[in-house]
């Protein structure tokens, strides 16, 4: 069984696709980091409609 040949378009756009992939990875890391910092900071208050927030 052989894999389908890579389309020429994928080769041409490799740099662009890698860049977008890295940016999306960085965005996930930033959102995760911000969430962590926000919920571990002293002033954090859970919304009142969350169970156990009282």
């Amino acid at each position: 069984m052989s894999f389908q040949d890579e389309h020429e378009l994928h080769i041409r756009r490799r740099g662009r696709n890698l860049g977008v992939g890295l940016l999306l990875g960085a965005l996930i890391a930033i959102i995760f980091g911000l969430t962590y910092v926000k919920i571990t900071s002293q002033g954090f208050q859970a919304p009142s409609n969350v169970a156990g927030a009282e």
Partner: protein, 318 residues
Amino acid sequence: MTDASINNASATEHEAQFGDYFALLKPRVMTLVVFTAFVGLLAAPVAVHPFVGFCAVLFIAVGGGASGALNMWWDADIDAVMKRTARRPIPAGKVTPQEALALGVALSGFSVVLLGLATNWVAAGLLAFTIFFYVVIYTMWLKRWTPQNIVIGGAAGAFPPMIGWAAATGGISVKSVLMFCLTFMWTPPHFWALALFMRGDYDAAKVPMLTVTHGRKSTRAHILVYTLLLAVLAISISFTGAGGPIYLIVSVVLNALFIKGAFAIWRRDETQAEADDFRAERRFFKLSLLYLFLHFGAILAEAGFDRFGLQLTFGGLL
């Protein structure tokens, strides 16, 4: 994706690479935005978590970059005829105007919302206003209409330290307004010096720069007057809460050099300038970059001393 779009894409001469899209964000202008926003953030009297601070400066930079992409979308016709900008991604045929518009709009929304979530909505609102001001007020309206384009439009480039300050404090203060004023007053002489040595560019593009509407002699006089006004403002900041002895020394030295450069430009005529390929004008332009970076560097140094309990201000009149 349809076969048709693949075929269309392969028909284009140049496939846009990641760097071409990045170039739409005007990375060199972004360094100024990043640095001044960073100073605004650190000069604020409220400590910010380092990661939140990093994100705030990043989102401000992305917002600045987004407005750069929108500027390139709107001004593609001007950029194509100006030597300085002809190699930008749109006139060079690397990126289509529609792609620049999409990238600019998407990054504008993204940066404003994320800055609001990461810090506060005052900072996000200021960033949104900055993007609006640069794209609509400056690019779409002032730039092609009045020789005062960069005087008023310079406000867009002056907002980042205020946004940085607002990201830390959630508000606006005299200090942050002073940082705004410093960049605002610095912009006209900086750009007019550029307009003097990029001679034919603005004429060819029919942009009503001062050199085109009022002539080059008048532009030289304007540079001198604005430089003198800037010097008064810049040195006065030494005696406010944003300044101090370090800032004063830096400011006096830089303003002396800047005024000397402005006088040299004012005393020259076009024959002299052409003879040495606009040496004085080019030097003044380079000095203007150093001028702004060192002034903000001094504000940062003063803030650093304050944070470690060493008050170096002259009593802080403001």
